[in-house]
């Protein structure tokens, strides 16, 4: 597979992106196209020459003169900066020159560029960003995590159908359990949106396990957790904040009670599972589902390892022809019409 990487996207670009591309090329059979200012990127790439003989690696640079910043207005930036690293990476996929595009940059702009250059899959009302979240027994996919703030029930149905395909084909989970975020387990609990979405999800085509409450998400009750993008975004950032708070309080505890330092050499072992679990660099980024082409959005703070994993996730999604699979699933049981046909 050929992966177009937005080499200027993310807080640590282009260092982390170029290093991530090198790691991906060394550790896989995929080709990486680094998209960004040619001179800057080739200079960065040279740093790894001694260690990896980069000229022998399957890495190409495609020039892009502009950069979209993390705080720029997504749609405006994409419209105006046609030669940005993100736009050019998306165009490479649209033109069939790459099989997937990967960015650690502005996620709103990634969505805008994908919509502008790659368009939605036929029948998809709204593409969704699907993020992996750690659970006690593994991880789950939360969809949508922020692309769509005001949703209708049929949007939530499609988020579930698309995440289901991704989970089965790319994550290779058989029959993933799908839960709907709500405020109680009973089908009668929820707001107008979730009450209506519950009925659509309960269509017999999905492995829908019903409502899941906030606490059920980290408990790993569902493999796929469906919510509107407002709720998804708030809970993901809230989770980040809580983990940060707990860590800070423990650090303060160590500072205030120097006697506790004696625990550190032994404590390390006990914390290794937790550390690995909350390490987003393992997750491989969030796929943008519902787009005509594979697009992966990584964490803005990604370092090389996370970039490498996002590139490999993009290659994996492209290899499994996720776009085609989603198109089929949406047509079969992802629209209200299809639902009505199913019922009749």
């Amino acid at each position: 597979m050929i992966i177009a990487l937005d080499a200027m996207g993310g807080d640590n670009a282009p260092q982390s992106t170029v290093e991530g591309a090198v790691l991906a090329a060394v550790n896989s059979k995929h080709k990486v196209i680094l998209v960004g200012p040619e001179k800057l990127i080739s200079g960065e790439l040279l740093k790894y020459h001694k260690k990896y003989d980069v000229t022998s690696l399957d890495i190409e640079i495609v020039n892009a003169t502009e950069v979209i910043g993390m705080d720029e207005h997504p749609a405006k930036a994409v419209r105006q900066k046609k030669d940005s690293s993100l736009s050019v990476a998306a165009k490479l996929v649209a033109e069939g020159k790459a099989d997937a595009c990967v960015t650690m940059g502005n996620s709103g702009a990634a969505m805008a560029a994908a919509l502008f250059y790659l368009k939605r899959i036929d029948g998809v009302l709204r593409p969704a960003i699907s993020t992996s979240f750690p659970t006690i027994n593994g991880s789950c996919i939360i969809s949508d995590m922020g692309a769509n703030v005001d949703c209708r029930p049929e949007h939530l149905l499609q988020f579930a159908v698309m995440a289901d395909v991704f989970c089965k084909k790319v994550l290779e989970k058989e029959n993933p359990k799908i839960g709907l975020v709500s405020i109680g387990e009973e089908p009668t609990k929820g707001n107008e949106l979730t009450l209506a979405a519950f009925k659509l999800l309960n269509n017999g085509k999905l492995n829908f396990i019903g409502n899941v409450e906030g606490r059920d998400i980290p408990r790993g009750k569902a493999d796929i957790v469906i919510c509107d993008g407002f709720v998804g975004n708030v809970i993901l950032k809230f989770g980040e904040g809580i983990a940060e708070m707990m860590l800070k309080l423990v650090k303060k505890g160590f500072k205030d009670h120097p006697v506790s330092w004696a625990s550190l050499p032994f404590l390390w072992f006990a914390l290794s599972d937790l550390k690995k679990k909350v390490d987003y660099s393992e997750s491989g980024g969030a796929p943008l589902l519902g787009i005509n082409g594979v697009c992966i959005i990584g964490h803005g703070r990604s370092h090389a390892k996370a970039v490498k994993n996002a590139i490999l996730a993009g290659a994996c999604a492209a290899e499994h022809d996720i776009t085609h699979e989603i198109r089929d699933a949406i047509a079969k049981y992802g629209t209200i019409n299809a639902q009505t046909e199913t019922v009749n």
Copy 2:
């Protein structure tokens, strides 16, 4: 103050409620009315006779023959069980025989009983449950945490006005900072509800600091965090789930790496701050704001200390005549009409 305690509410009732009432009576000047099956409650009370000479304590028992379970349908249970401990406790406040009612039971039923027996304050569209949540530098109030799932912007305005009064009068925080839960700091970020609520909150009468993201809540950016009850309920339970997951992973780490046990004697000191912070028994329960009378809902898993603190919180809210204060504030700047008048 006289506090009516639903002695049968909560997972650990009546043991925890009766012990909590004893602790409150021993440690304060307030009178506690224990509401529940007379024989059962007096038998429970006798257990503390040796230690505290309960006959000298300001505790009374009022008989109530029925109990509302944690999983019963709120409105139906309140309508049918007129002699339940919860209903009788609410009636005592309605009849002026108690200054506040406190329950650790079914929070939906508490809301239903409060609406049925005490009614809403004039001008209040919807009462809200306001819960305390730990932050890195103290705690914040999240309102609403589940009473109202589909909200209009004016409901969110009123949640803010009511929580502001509670924060100033009962928690004695001067000029509390009010944040609106959204998906970005900019006023242009959010869903239809929060975009409209932003404008109402930004009225010059409240110390509104704008949107807060999920991660800003544990960071303590705001003293009062406003959201609809769906979002509030999901994030609170999600937070609970994350803390539980982190704890389980650390426990598993200790189990898998016995060498780490050597850290335990010293680790204890470092964790004391964190332990205290996430101990809900310190919080004193969640006030139901917007009701004609003080009503406090504690955690269903409350033990005696949490019950005691909820009783004291109820007494404190009653002493500060929170009902009267909320009525005034709602009339002055808590309705759309008042807003228009303010602008003119």
